[in-house]
Every structure is written in structure tokens, then in C-alpha cells.
């Protein structure tokens, strides 16, 4: 017998002996292990699904509640306040001066929110520091003009396709900021897996690219959307 065989024999014998000796005790250990496994699995699984999303995002309330529905009823469609400037650049969230085209320093209605608006911002001539749900990082260039004033069907999109039915909302939901990336939750998507049901559920680069491939047959070149 060679040395190697010898060792192998001994080894297997040792193993068998140990196994036989420890059988009953190990059964119990395994059972506890399974329980531990199950408990840990459940805790982590649930916190991964329920707690993690809550921890990942910090919530910021808007300076005051904004009723889109009321404003669209009074002022008209989205373009009344969010419009393309004459040079084709996008005006974005209206500044105080734009609000003051309709509002005065006296509240028009009786809501508490308008009172805050008048006292805190109009009276102090301060811009309202809105949180922008759809805020993209600095490296992104997005042309609203190209998407709503463009040539073909791709250039005649409606606001809802990307922004959802925000115009029908009566209150401002909290702005959720990813603690790691600093981005708005609307960019990565409401769904923690990033699954989307609606076209407006997510605003990542792939979402842009997919639509571009569909419409133009090509996702475009870097500079088309980056600066």
C-alpha cells in the first residue's frame, strides 16, 4: 500500500467514525440551524422589501402644498405655467415673477398653502425652493422643445408620457431623495426593483434610449443627451 492510499483509508475511516458518533446530536443542531436560517431569511427578506426602501430614501416635504388640479382648472393646461421660452429653452418650474402674473400679495383663495405662499415668499420676495421630482444630474441635457415641438410623432409627445398625471394631483407628495446617489426617486422609479407599469414610472438613461430606439431606430449619440 502506498502512503497516499494509507492516508486515504485512514481519512475515510476517521470521517465515518465521527459521523456515526455524532448523528443524534447533529440532527438537533441542524434543526436549530434551519430555524435560524428561516428567521434570518425572513427578517432580511422582509426588511429588504419593506424597510430598505424606507431607509434608502429621505423624504422632504415641499415648502407648501401645491394643487395642480386647481391651477389647471383656473389657468388652463400645463403650458400656461411650464412653457417653452421664445428661444426654445424650457422654463421649468415657474419663478415667483411668473406666479405673480396671476397672484397678488393678497391670497386669491382661502387655502392655508396660499397663505404660506403669500407670507413667506411673495411678501419676502423670495423664490419658492421647490423640490423637482424629475431633476436630472448636471451631465444630462434634455430638450423639451425636441420632444414637444419636434418633427415627427416622436417630437409631439404629451407631458404625461414622461411626467405622469401630475396635473391631476391635488396635493404635493413628498420628494424622496436617494441617500446614496442624491437623485430623486422618480428617476430610478417608484418600484424598488425598477419595474415600470407606466411610461412615466422611471427616467433613467435606458428609458430614454428604449424610446429612442423605438421611435428613431437608434438610441442616439452621447452628445444628444449629455453635456
Amino acid at each position: 500500500m502506498s502512503e497516499i492510499e494509507n492516508k486515504a483509508e485512514h481519512g475515510s475511516m476517521d470521517g465515518a467514525g465521527e459521523c456515526a458518533a455524532g448523528d443524534p446530536k447533529d440532527d438537533k443542531g441542524l434543526g436549530l440551524g434551519v430555524i435560524f436560517f428561516m428567521v434570518a431569511f425572513l427578517v432580511c427578506f422582509l426588511s429588504g422589501w419593506l424597510l430598505f426602501p424606507k431607509l434608502l430614501y429621505s423624504k422632504h416635504e415641499q415648502p407648501f402644498n401645491f394643487d395642480h388640479e386647481l391651477h389647471t382648472a383656473e389657468a388652463g393646461d400645463c403650458e400656461s405655467c411650464h412653457f417653452l421660452r421664445e428661444d426654445g429653452t424650457w422654463s421649468g418650474i415657474p419663478n415667483l415673477a411668473s406666479c405673480m402674473e396671476c397672484h397678488t400679495d393678497e391670497p386669491m383663495g382661502e387655502t392655508e398653502d396660499e397663505a404660506i405662499f403669500c407670507e413667506e415668499y411673495v411678501a419676502k420676495e423670495k423664490e419658492v425652493p421647490w423640490f423637482v421630482y424629475s431633476k436630472q444630474p448636471d451631465c444630462v441635457f434634455f430638450s423639451h422643445a425636441a420632444h414637444i415641438n419636434g418633427e415627427n410623432a416622436a417630437g409631439k409627445m404629451d407631458c404625461k408620457t414622461c411626467h405622469g398625471p401630475i396635473g391631476e394631483s391635488t396635493s404635493s407628495r413628498p420628494y424622496e431623495e436617494n441617500r446614496i446617489t442624491g437623485y430623486s426617486r422618480d428617476i430610478w422609479g417608484k418600484n424598488i426593483w425598477g419595474f415600470k407599469k407606466h411610461s412615466w414610472d422611471r427616467m433613467k438613461m435606458d428609458d430614454c434610449a428604449n424610446c429612442h430606439v423605438e421611435m428613431d431606430g437608434h438610441k442616439g449619440y452621447c452628445f444628444q443627451c449629455h453635456k
Binding site: P137, C139, A145, Y221, F223, H226, K227
Partner: protein, 285 residues
């Protein structure tokens, strides 16, 4: 490669006889594109100048000496055979730079770049610069930064973009007024700044554009070197290291023969042979 109908091919021609070397193009570029500055900018290898004006001399002794200034932005190479494989684009492992087949402009995306600097090694024109340090502006100076170009950060490469944001802004206006943009609506910052009017910028695919009228690019590959496309049919116009087949879109123009000769490296006697065959091009790649 994607086929584009009505693709543009933006390029420029610089009249070196008009260039005064004043530096307006360099400063206009820096101010337009948020290019930072440091205390010591005399080490030119780490001095970020998307547009850099080089000084060339004919090497002759006093008083036969002549000097010419040559502004050098990114040359926006379309690569061998005009297929979009620019030297830098071909080597970028991060896809941080690509060739826009719709404009002919070579991009650079800072957030995507991880700073390997392969592109700098690949670029034959030293047009790319690495951010060895985070840019710092003296207190208050960041107030003049433009939102149209992202400020860069340490560890990434940057270069001339042919002021792509100006193209974007011109197009937005075009969309607004539901029309194509005009030649004068998209001009780079260096072009508009040049007090001597030495730079002409436009679409080399548009025969109406001034740059095309001056350059008269040959749409057919050079019979002697299939890799070279878009060679100028104007005998006074040349490109830098044209025979490499990088197919740059920045052309230069000069009445002076020594200047045109300085645009490439020639063996003894090669230039004269080539000169005698001008038009039919005697190059062998």
C-alpha cells in the same frame, strides 16, 4: 454604423494667413466651456486648452524667418475611410467618447470617463487633456460658470466639443420656430470670437455653407489611399497628418508653401514630388 439621411458633417477651415495669434479663440473657448485655470499654466502639457494656438516657424535664419500661428481645436476625426472610427473613439474602454454619425462630432462624456487616458495616447493631435487636479475657482469666480457645459472633475479627460451645446441651443430655437437651423445659428465660440475672421465653421455636407465652398471636399476616397476621404480640392487647403487617414474635419488654409508642408511629415524630396502631382495626389498610405 447607422445610416443617416441628411446627416451633417460639421467642420471648419482656418485661414492661417489671417490668424494673428492673438489668443481670442483660446479665451473664448475657456469662457464658453467652463475651462478652469491654475496658478501655474506654463507647463503646457497639463494646461487644459481645448483650443490651443501653436506657433510655427519656417526655420530660416534672420531675416528670412517667418512665423505662422495655428489654432488647434479637436480635429473631430472621422477615422479611416470616413467610417467614424476616430483614433480616440476606437480605444475608449468606457464608451465615454463616441462619434456622432449625425453631426460628425466626437463627444466626450466626463461622468462616464474613468481616466485611463488611452484616448490621449491615441490622439495624434494632442487635443485631449487630463484633469490631474480638481478644478478650483477663486472665491466668487464660479459665479460666471455656464450651465450649458458641465464643469469637470479630477480624473477625467476633456476636449473640444465644437461647442455642441451651441448646436443644441440653436436646434431648440429651430424646433420652436419649426424650421431647420441656419448656417450662422450654429457657430463655435472660437469662430465668433476671432477678430480676424480667420475661422469658418459650418456643415461640410452642405454645399451652400461657406466652409464647403472654401474646402471643396472630395466625396470620393483618395485613389492612392482609400483611407483618406474628404480631401480638399482647393490647392491652398490642407489637413494635419492627412495621410494617416484620420480624416479630420478641421482644415487649414495658407498661401505659403512652407506652411502647407508643415502640416505633415515628409521624407527628403517627397514634398516636391507630391507638389508636382497636386490634385492627383501622389501619396501612398
Amino acid at each position: 454604423m447607422i445610416q443617416h439621411e441628411n446627416a451633417h458633417k460639421f467642420g471648419m477651415v482656418v485661414d492661417l494667413d489671417k490668424c494673428t495669434g492673438c489668443g481670442s479663440c483660446m479665451v473664448s473657448c475657456m469662457a464658453e466651456n467652463n475651462v478652469p485655470f491654475k496658478e501655474d499654466e506654463t507647463r503646457k502639457k497639463d494646461s487644459i486648452t481645448w483650443m490651443r494656438v501653436y506657433k510655427l516657424t519656417n526655420g530660416k535664419p534672420f531675416p528670412e524667418t517667418e512665423v505662422v500661428y495655428m489654432p488647434r481645436p479637436c480635429q473631430h476625426c472621422s477615422g479611416l475611410g470616413d467610417h467614424g472610427h476616430s483614433p480616440c473613439v476606437s480605444v475608449c474602454p468606457a464608451t465615454a467618447t463616441d462619434y456622432g454619425y449625425d453631426t460628425g462630432i466626437v463627444s466626450q462624456i466626463y461622468t462616464r470617463c474613468f481616466g485611463c487616458r488611452y484616448c490621449m495616447g491615441a490622439c495624434p493631435y494632442h487635443a485631449r487633456y487630463f484633469n490631474w487636479w480638481d478644478p478650483k475657482w477663486p472665491e466668487g469666480q464660479e459665479n460666471y460658470l455656464s450651465p450649458n457645459v458641465s464643469p469637470r472633475m479630477r480624473g477625467v479627460v476633456e476636449k473640444c466639443s465644437f461647442c455642441y451645446h451651441r448646436y443644441q441651443l440653436a436646434r431648440e430655437k429651430g424646433y420652436m420656430e419649426e424650421r431647420e437651423i441656419e448656417e450662422n445659428e450654429y457657430q463655435t465660440a472660437c469662430t465668433t470670437a476671432c477678430p480676424a475672421g480667420a475661422i469658418t465653421f459650418g456643415d461640410l455636407n452642405n454645399p451652400e455653407h461657406e466652409v464647403t465652398k472654401i474646402v471643396k471636399p472630395d466625396p470620393h476616397p483618395d485613389p492612392m489611399n482609400k483611407n483618406v476621404v474628404g480631401k480638399s480640392r482647393n490647392p491652398k487647403v490642407f489637413r494635419l497628418l492627412e495621410r494617416l487617414g484620420t480624416n479630420t474635419k478641421v482644415y487649414y488654409m495658407s498661401e505659403r508653401e512652407w506652411v502647407r508642408k508643415a502640416g505633415d511629415n515628409y521624407l527628403d524630396g517627397e514634398w516636391d514630388k507630391r507638389k508636382n502631382h497636386h490634385g492627383s495626389s501622389s501619396d501612398h498610405g
